[in-house]
C-alpha cells in the first residue's frame, strides 16, 4: 500500500530531524557541564579544555554574590510563577466567562499588548514609573516587573482550556446544589490545573531567565543571576558560573523527576485521560491558540 511505504521513509526522516534538534538543544548543556571541570587560564574560562579540576564547585558555592543572585532569581521566579498563575488564571477565565463584553475586550487587548511590547520598553517605563511614584526598588517591585508578561502567557494558556470545559458537569453540580465557589473548586479547578501548571512552568522560566527588565530593576540586595552573568561578559566569565549552572541542572532534573513520578502516580489513581503528554495532563490542546470561539 502506498501509505505504508511512504510512512516508514517519512517517519525515519522526521525522527532523525527530531534527534538532531535534541542534540542541538543539549549541546550547550553538555558543554556547560563538561567545562565546569575545566581548569581555565588565570581563573577565566577557555574554549579548550586545559585541565581537569573540581575546584570550581566549592568556589562557586563560596562566591557569595553568585550564590545570592541564584537564590534571588529562584525566589523571584517562584513568586512570579505563583502571582502570574493566580492573576493569569483569573484573566483567562474572565476572558471567556466575563459578564461584560467591554471587560472581556479590554482584557484581551491588554493581553495582546503585553505580548507585543518589547522588553526594553517595559523595563524602562517601569523604572520611570517607580522613580516618579517614589517607589524604592526591591524584591516586590522586581516581581511586579516580571508579572505583566507572565500573566499574559498564563492567561492565554488557561483561556484556551476554559473554552474547552465541559459545561455539563458544571450544570450537574449546580443541580446537585453546589454553590459557585464549590463548583469552581471541585469541578472547574481540577480541569484547569494542567493548564495552570503549564503556565506556571513557563512563567517561572521567563522570570528566571529574564535579563532586560531585571537589569533595570535590581538593587544591591535584590539582584539576579542573568544580571550577574551579563557583567562577567566584559571581563570574561569564570568557570564557577558553569559549576553553578551544572548544580542548578542537577537540582531541576531531580525536582522534575520527582514531580513527574508524583503526577503519574496521581493520574493513574484518578484514571484521567491523558492527551497532551503525560506530564501536562488532559485537555491542554489549544494551549497556545489564543482566542475564544
Amino acid at each position: 500500500m502506498r501509505l505504508l511505504r511512504g510512512r516508514s521513509w517519512i517517519n525515519g526522516a522526521l525522527g532523525l530531524w527530531s534527534l538532531a534538534v535534541f542534540v542541538f538543544l543539549f549541546a550547550p548543556i553538555v558543554t556547560v557541564v563538561v567545562f565546569s571541570f575545566n581548569q581555565g587560564v588565570l581563573g577565566k574560562q577557555t574554549a579548550n579544555f586545559t585541565g581537569f579540576t573540581t575546584r570550581w564547585y566549592p568556589e562557586a558555592w563560596g562566591n557569595t554574590a553568585l550564590r545570592h543572585d541564584v537564590g534571588v532569581s529562584f525566589k523571584v521566579a517562584v513568586a512570579v510563577a505563583i502571582l502570574a498563575t493566580v492573576l493569569g488564571t483569573i484573566t483567562g477565565i474572565t476572558l471567556v466567562r466575563g459578564r461584560s463584553r467591554a471587560l472581556r475586550l479590554t482584557l484581551e487587548g491588554l493581553v495582546y499588548l503585553l505580548l507585543i511590547v518589547p522588553e526594553i520598553v517595559l523595563a524602562v517605563s517601569l523604572l520611570l514609573f517607580y522613580t516618579k511614584a517614589g517607589v524604592s526598588l526591591g524584591m516586590w517591585p522586581l516581581i511586579a516587573g516580571h508579572s505583566p508578561f507572565t500573566i499574559a502567557v498564563v492567561a492565554i494558556i488557561v483561556r484556551s482550556r476554559v473554552v474547552a470545559l465541559d459545561l455539563a458537569t458544571e450544570d450537574a453540580a449546580a443541580d446537585l446544589g453546589a454553590g459557585g465557589w464549590r463548583t469552581f473548586w471541585d469541578v472547574i479547578f481540577p480541569q484547569l490545573r494542567p493548564a495552570m501548571l503549564a503556565g506556571a512552568i513557563l512563567a517561572f522560566t521567563f522570570s528566571f531567565d529574564d535579563l532586560v527588565v531585571s537589569l533595570f530593576l535590581t538593587t544591591p540586595t535584590v539582584t539576579t543571576l542573568p544580571v550577574y552573568l551579563f557583567g562577567t561578559v566584559r571581563l570574561g566569565a569564570r568557570p564557577d558560573v558553569d559549576a553553578i549552572a551544572a548544580m542548578m541542572l542537577a537540582f531541576t532534573v531531580t525536582v522534575l523527576l520527582a514531580a513527574g513520578l508524583v503526577y503519574r502516580w496521581q493520574a493513574r489513581r484518578s484514571g484521567a485521560r491523558l492527551a497532551f503528554g503525560d506530564v501536562l495532563g488532559p485537555g491542554t490542546e489549544g494551549a497556545f491558540a489564543p482566542g475564544a470561539p
Partner: protein, 382 residues
C-alpha cells in the same frame, strides 16, 4: 569591645548620638578593635591609627560593583573580621550603574566602583558624597593616580586599580610594525590582516583611535572632529571581525591577528600564545582608573569607610592584584608583587608609557551624538 553598645555618650559636654560617637571615637576604637581581633596582617595600620578610620563592626554594606572584582579571600576575611554583612550587586557597564543611581534604583547602594570618566558625571548629578580623607589610608595609594583630571582633589573617588588600552598582535602575520595608532589603522587594511581585526566595544575608545591617529585630543567636544573620526572608523569598519575587547579564544587561536585590548587581557592572551606582542601605541592612549566612591545617600557610611580602609591595606591589595590581573593602587606594587604570579610584568605599565596616558572625559551634551556615531560604525561593519 563594641562601640555600638554605647547608645549615647557625653563628649565635650555635649550629648552625642551613636553615629557621632562612632565617628569621633573610631580612630581610637579602631585601633583597639584591630588589636583585640588578633590584629591585621600589617602592623603599620595600628601605628597609623590616627590617619585612618579603622574598621566599623557589624551592620551591612551594599557594594555596587563589577563582578569578580575582589579576591574572595579578602571579602571573606573582611566579613569575618568586622562582622559586616556584605551585599554585592553587579553591573555590566558604567552606563547601567549611572542610570540606576540616577533613579529610584540608587537609593540603597553604599559603595559604587565607577570608572574614571563617570566620576565627574555622577558627582555633578549629586550621586556621590565628598570623601573624608582622614578616614582613608592614602599612604597606600600611589600618588601618580591621585589628583587626576576626573577628580582633581579626589573629593569623590579613591583609586582602586587602573589600566590602559593598547594593541595586541601576532607579529608573524602583522608584518607592519605597530608603533602608532595610524600603524594600527594601516595594518588593519593589509591583506591577511583585514577581516581579522578587532576593536573594543566601547564608543569613546573606537572614536579615540582615529583622533589619536591624527594627533588630536580624544576628549574633544568638537563635533566636526568627532564626525570626521567617525568617518575614518566607518571606512575601517569593513576590516573588523568583531567589536570585542575580550576575545581570548579568537586571538589565541589565530582567527584574530590584531585587537585593541587592555593590558590585563593582553596578559591572558600572551600566557596562552607566547608569540603575541602587546604595545601601547603613540602618541597617546587611555588611562582608566576604577575608583571606590561612596554614594550620596549611602545608608552605611561607616561600613563603607571600613571596607575601603580594609581593601587598601597592602596585603589585601596584593591579593586583589593577583586575582583580577590589573595593577591596584599600592605604591611600588611591581616590586612587591610575588614572582609566582604568572607573567607578572605584563600587568604593569612602564613609567614612560604611563606619562602618555590620558583619562577619558564625558561631555553630557554630546554623548548622544557619540553614541549614534558609534552605532553607525557598528552598522558599517555588518
Amino acid at each position: 569591645m563594641e562601640p555600638t553598645d554605647f547608645a549615647v555618650t557625653v563628649v565635650k559636654g555635649r550629648r552625642v548620638g551613636r553615629r557621632e560617637f562612632l565617628t569621633a571615637g573610631a580612630a581610637g576604637a579602631g585601633a583597639l578593635l584591630l588589636a583585640a581581633c588578633g590584629g591585621s596582617s600589617t602592623s603599620t595600620s595600628t601605628a597609623k591609627a590616627s590617619s585612618h578610620a579603622g574598621l566599623a563592626k557589624g551592620g551591612t554594606l551594599n557594594l555596587w560593583t563589577w563582578p569578580d572584582y575582589y579576591a574572595p579571600a579578602n571579602l571573606k576575611a573582611f566579613q569575618a573580621k568586622t562582622g559586616t554583612k556584605l551585599n554585592i550587586a553587579t553591573y555590566d557597564s558604567n552606563d547601567t550603574a549611572f542610570a540606576k543611581l540616577n533613579t529610584a534604583g540608587g537609593a540603597s547602594f553604599d559603595i559604587v566602583v565607577p570608572t574614571s570618566d563617570f566620576v565627574p558625571v555622577m558627582a555633578q548629578h549629586g550621586l556621590l558624597q565628598k570623601l573624608d580623607h582622614s578616614r582613608i589610608p592614602l599612604q597606600y595609594v600611589d600618588p601618580k593616580l591621585l589628583r587626576k583630571v576626573f577628580d582633581p582633589h579626589n573629593d569623590y573617588s579613591i583609586p582602586k586599580d587602573y589600566g590602559t588600552i593598547g594593541v595586541i598582535y601576532n607579529p608573524a602575520v602583522v608584518k607592519h610594525p605597530i608603533r602608532t595608532w595610524q600603524d594600527y589603522l594601516d595594518a588593519g587594511a593589509q591583506p591577511g590582516v583585514s577581516g581579522k581585526v578587532e576593536l573594543a566595544d566601547v564608543p569613546d575608545e573606537t572614536l579615540g583611535i582615529a583622533l589619536w591617529a591624527e594627533g588630536k585630543d580624544w576628549n574633544t567636544d568638537n563635533l566636526a572632529d568627532l564626525r570626521h573620526a567617525a568617518e575614518v572608523m566607518k571606512a575601517f569598519a569593513k576590516h573588523v571581525h568583531a567589536f570585542n575587547e575580550f576575545d581570548v579564544s579568537g586571538v589565541t587561536s589565530g582567527a584574530v591577528v590584531m585587537a585593541v585590548v587592555t593590558q590585563g587581557t593582553a596578559r591572558e592572551m600572551m600566557l596562552q600564545k607566547k608569540s603575541l606582542k602587546f604595545v601601547i601605541p603613540q602618541p597617546q592612549s587611555e588611562l582608566w582608573v576604577d575608583n571606590y566612591c561612596i554614594t550620596a545617600k549611602a545608608p552605611d557610611v561607616n561600613q563603607a569607610y571600613s571596607f575601603i580602609d580594609y581593601m587598601l591595606q597592602p596585603a589585601h591589595q596584593l591579593k586583589d592584584c593577583a586575582f583580577i590581573g590589573y595593577p591596584t593602587a599600592l605604591p611600588n606594587l611591581q616590586s612587591k608583587l610575588p614572582a609566582s604570579v604568572p607573567l607578572r610584568n605584563e600587568i604593569f605599565i612602564s613609567p614612560a608609557d604611563f606619562n602618555r596616558l590620558v583619562p577619558h572625559v564625558i561631555h553630557p551634551a554630546i554623548q548622544g551624538t557619540v553614541e549614534n556615531l558609534y552605532s553607525e560604525i557598528q552598522a558599517a561593519a555588518a
